[in-house]
Symmetry: C2
Subunit: 243 residues, 2 copies
Amino acid sequence: MQDLSSQESVQTSIDEAVVSGILSARIRPGTRLSENEVASLFNVSRTRVREAMMRLEQRGIVKVSPRRGWFVVEPSAEEAISVYAARRVIEAGLLRSMDRLTESGCEKLQAHLAEEEAAIAAGDRQRLTCLMGDFHIRIAELSGNPILVEILRDLTARTILISLIYQSDFHAMQSHLGHCRIVASMEEGDFEKAAALAVEHLDEVETGLDLTRRPDPLADLRRSLSLPPQVPASSNASRKTKT
Amino acid sequence: MQDLSSQESVQTSIDEAVVSGILSARIRPGTRLSENEVASLFNVSRTRVREAMMRLEQRGIVKVSPRRGWFVVEPSAEEAISVYAARRVIEAGLLRSMDRLTESGCEKLQAHLAEEEAAIAAGDRQRLTCLMGDFHIRIAELSGNPILVEILRDLTARTILISLIYQSDFHAMQSHLGHCRIVASMEEGDFEKAAALAVEHLDEVETGLDLTRRPDPLADLRRSLSLPPQVPASSNASRKTKT
DNA sequence: ACGACAAATCTTGCATACAAGACAGACTAG
DNA sequence: CTAGTCTGTCTTGTATGCAAGATTTGTCGT
């Protein structure tokens, strides 16, 4: 964070800093973003921060609670469902609209899959979260359509927030395999199949969520005290003690 | 505009006023939106207007030219292509993701088609522009996904701006027939076909654009002086004197 | 008559000041 | 000891003030 306080091209860097913080899961859902604190971190006045927050709010990334503060969104169960549905629609539509995979596109995807494997091997979970989201952005980039890239970037950010709330355990390998299958189909030129696999992949991830779980207002405190992440809250959950 | 100056629930009404102005083609691409003027129209200070502009900029609806002013975007040819491509992807994906058409959904679509016909019969071009865009929003609404609705609303706004720049003549009947065909397929439950028709429909509209045309910076003045809309700008344009 | 220069005006960029409301903590009464 | 209230503090909401830059218009020189 030290590097942010020095006044660089601070133009839109507040927005980017927040988004990249979310994409890499450094910022948790419900995090409070005080105008004053952010302002002093970036050595600007509250005006600029507010403008950034307004933009981020429009993107569905933060919300304001009147006279209380700005918070990173905690998508509700319904919102989570909408986000996944939107991603299925857009990503499937995107893949189906493709007709060929360029040489360089193929290389980029392979490079990405290699990175995923490396992160899995290294057990770098934060980097993995980031990469798992980035995969879908990479695909959008192949289309060369900046509008779709932007839309999927924001949906990915929201997806990560959703995972942090509702996903109990992260099946990295399963997701990675899903990605591999999608890329394989694309290389075969079977984009219809790739689209179907993408839908299936998103379904898998969505199914892995526990949407009955409520966002935990005590998450910060809990983490600070090194308590177990959250009580499973289901009726027979107490039996599944993890020690 | 009188009704806007009275301070109602001015909360987000600036945004909505601008967007609805664009959706109904009352606001042309390139229109300057002075912070001071808008502020006095809404009886608020520049702060609120700036916030609204920031949000609208994020939505790709206005742009700021530094120290010069805010302008309704004039999408370039490439941007126009991206917008249509994005709409094809999303709308086709949306239709393909549907599996049934509810009774009430069917009624809403039919009601919309009836409105289109009424507007065609009445020759109400402004209303027609609005309805033609709204059709696609209606379809998104059927999905019940607010995220997709929002995305398509903004893309529709940009589409209308694109039409106003690049579309020489508006084939209302052709578009209406396209809509009818899409709805017919949906009623048959053949969403695959509906998706294909939607892509075809968007292709038709896009093909009808003259993307070589440049946005005319003198459009306002020209219209005020009742001059012909735009010189054809081809090499032998000077010969075509219109007196 | 035409072109260049300069000042005046108008625009946004940004910071700051003040107001209104929410929350927390202390204090008091029962 | 507990419940309720009240005040102080901290937050955002909104307006305003000033600075920097771009445009335009008026003027002057050629």
